[in-house]
Subunit: 225 residues, 2 copies
DNA sequence: TCCGCTTATAACCGGTTTGTAACCGCCGGA
DNA sequence: TCCGGCGGTTACAAACCGGTTATAAGCGGA
């Protein structure tokens, strides 16, 4: 499930991105109207989170541009007091809105609701990036053009986390939390094992991993080219 | 500026940690009361963000333990409805509180206010300054336009501290506390070593350091031009 | 029930990182 | 001039880390 987040406030954008990635979404970002439209065309996200208040009030224009080419769900972000903005946004085809400030938990809940409403909730969402395509429903990955490989529950979770942060290093702690909901710190071993087993499955040469790479002292990352 | 975040909700803890790190704080985490106290002793943070509602209601105990040994600012996190908890927290010496759910922006604002009140205000330490760019996630630095250099955990902490005080001299004591958490003061040797090793990695000529300079009798400073 | 797959735990290895000690040269004060 | 402190350097040992292998424990389906 791919989400496009648009906000000119870089900090907030990062935060939204982080919360979404944490929840297993694949996130693409844009910091202004024009690039939002560009990214939308390039990435074909399944949902858009769009700040209204951007330089040039271009949130509206972006919403309009998106609606002109797709019926993808759009979640608008507004500041509390601007009611008429809201009306305008909904008229332009936005599906829901959230007033700032909001907690990431709320954002996630609303996004899930929106996806459910749009009937996209769990409809075969192959989370994919680059050469790695993950099918959460089927519990399989396909690397490049190869055969789908069956994954266990834990392997799936690991890959989900890495894939939603593709190209970036994910710390062992975050992985531990995401996969096991955390336990005592002795569980470095579990992660070690899981990575090892996953490599056996998805790497051509598990000894020289090309996708699931380790960042010594930091964690692991997924290279998708 | 080092912040200890304590919460048993792992997701929220991650999120708080991320928001703080993003804002340039150095973050240490703990997920329960006992480990919170342990980490506090080991890390000597400049501020604590502490959830009250933890298994065993131990938020209070942690607050008490912290107050018993330090006057460091403490920010409590509570759920909306529990007023008497709040009163108790403030009686125990908490400096401020925040009711869940809260937006990270709010948290940051309140933390900054708290630091200002405590007279510890800092000048928003960025992760990159001048020719030195530190990537905390990847455990790497890039000097000028050069190749990223891998850092060990300790090297990373040293650079973090120096970078957040770029251009200013940081005393050996502060560095010791920040990197190792209080130890016997005889451990100058450790710092000597660490500086030496880091210079080998990031200086063109480690004998004539251009970035990691010695302030004789005082400490070290990072020159970023 | 047994079988097979998945997950947990432990032990070992080699390489890296960190801790400890000793030595050097420099400088300032006795 | 000698001495002691300080910072830099070299050397080595201890601890740790990640990969690997092996084996046991849990669990679901035939």
């Amino acid at each position: 499930m791919k989400v496009l987040a648009v906000d000119d406030d870089r900090d907030l954008l990062e935060l939204i991105g982080f919360a979404l990635a944490q929840a297993g979404f694949l996130v693409v970002k844009a910091a202004d109207g024009p690039s939002a439209v560009r990214v939308f065309d390039a990435e074909a996200p399944d949902l858009v989170v769009l700040d209204i208040n951007m330089p040039g009030a271009s949130g509206f224009q972006v919403c309009e541009a998106i609606r002109a080419r797709s019926s993808v769900p759009v979640m608008m972000l507004t500041v509390r007091s601007e009611e008429e903005d809201l009306v305008k946004a909904l008229e332009l085809g936005a599906d829901d809105y959230l007033t700032k400030p909001f907690s990431p938990k709320t954002l996630l809940a609303r996004i899930r609701a929106l996806l459910r409403r749009a009937g996209m909730e769990s409809s075969a969402p192959p989370l994919a990036s680059g050469r790695v395509a993950l099918d959460v429903e089927e519990h399989t990955v396909r690397i490049g053009g190869g055969e789908p490989v069956r994954l266990t529950k834990l392997e799936l979770r690991l890959l989900q986390m890495l894939l939603s942060n593709a190209g970036r290093t994910v710390s062992s702690d975050r992985l531990l939390v995401h996969i096991w909901g955390h336990r005592n710190s002795g569980d470095r071993q579990l992660l070690k094992q899981l990575v090892h087993r996953l490599r056996q499955k998805i790497e051509v040469d598990p000894a020289l991993p090309r996708h699931l790479q380790t960042a010594a002292g930091a964690g692991y990352k997924l290279v998708v080219e």
